[in-house]
Amino acid sequence: MNQRTALYQQHVDAGAKIVDFAGWDMPLHYGSQIAEHRKVREHAGVFDVSHMAIIDVDGPEAAVFLRRMLAGDVATLTQSGMALYTIMLNEAGGVVDDLIIYRLESCYRLVVNCATRAKDLAWLKQHGEDFSVNLQERSGLGILAVHGPAAISTVCSLLPAAHADRVRALGAFRCAELGDWFVARTGYTGEQGIELILPDAQAPDLWRNLLAAGVQPVGLGARDTLRLEAGMNLYGHDMDENTSPLAANLEQTIAWEPAYRVFVGRAAVEIHRRQQAEGKLPKLTGIVLETRGVLREGQRLVTDKGDGIITSGSFSPTLNVSVALARVPVHSTICEVDLRGTLTPVRLVKPRFVRLGKKVFD
């Protein structure tokens, strides 16, 4: 029997096609994935992402421990209310997971992927033994992500005035605790929006109120095409334990300074950096297919510098062409994709296609 979020019945009531996602019964779409995608770009959509794992870290050495475990530096979260997207590496410099870390009043909060929950917890606990820290996986909480140009104003219209004022005042990658709710200006779509963590018992009411206010329920299908257009990696596809973050467009999630900070995987990624400069490590890039067809994960690419591979690809509902993230040799300039046996030219672009509803590559 699969796990279900507090909103399972709401999904069924909204006509969801339910699929298994890493042991959870989750909505794939509520009729049309493309219509849901466009609604997020044009107005607002709500995603149930309660299947993701929340790990709270506190204790006297919480910051010291996290500075060791994460490639990003939690010392940059100088006060509560700040957030950071970063990665956790293994000793070989592979990506154990990507995550967002939030600084709360009383702890650091990590939100990690659903499928990697057990692995991440074991990894953190194993390393946590040497530190004075407490790791607590939070259960009984729902997570709703509301994204789109009208998302923040709609959420604010449903909140008590004092809370709404605090939400409106939040900048990107800022968060706030509002009683037993936690809200953050973070997300996975390339649109403005907000993520809300709240007790399971209160999640269905918020969901119903959002839908009544004109917010579109959005399934995992559109979540994937939205994040792909935004050029955001999907764990297990664009990045994994056997791939350097430098070959996954994650260099900016690593804090190289201060040089004395030792973090797990640092030695390995320092080597990867030199290898990439020498052209020996591939890079993650964006590709666009301007003719008919759809780019798919696993398709082979042929470039002027050697073969590459698509790590995730789909049809882009915003651009009406197919786009993909792909791992190719550095310095490649010409690229073709093996589309069901036919080599077809594609364009290499920066790995970011849409932001705030608009095309962003040349």
Partner: protein, 124 residues
């Protein structure tokens, strides 16, 4: 109306319109499984095909699916509307979302296809 259709196990339907003329499309089950269709590659009008031959491709947000002709014959028309409006395959797979019309060279091949109940049973 759908009970007058005959189905292939590979999820295409055939409707006999006149003696040897038939229309081919994909089933409701197939469109549902595919999700939103984004491109349809149709055969060329005039092409001669045999039963079981790959003749078209339907690309959805989820996957690319080969379409096999359920019967042998000559393609006499294709549904060009699908080039601009592939979503019709989702909204009306059994009617406006037809793929092609074929002049059958061996109408007896129809006997090997499933009726609606047999098709429903074939994909449980």
């Amino acid at each position: 109306m759908s009970n007058t259709l005959k189905y292939a196990r590979s999820h295409e339907w055939v409707r006999v319109d006149a003696d040897e003329l038939a229309t081919v499309g994909i089933s409701e089950f197939a469109q549902e499984a595919l999700g939103d269709v984004v491109f349809v590659e149709l055969p060329k009008s005039g092409a001669t095909v045999s039963a079981g031959q790959e003749v078209a491709v339907v690309e959805s947000v989820k996957a690319a699916s080969d379409i096999f002709s359920p019967v042998s014959g000559t393609i006499v028309a294709v549904n060009d509307t699908l080039k601009d409006k592939p979503e019709i395959l989702n909204s009306a797979p059994l009617t406006d979302g037809w793929l092609f019309r074929i002049r059958m060279s061996k109408p007896s091949e129809l006997d090997a296809l499933l009726d609606a109940a047999g098709y429903a049973a074939s994909h449980g």
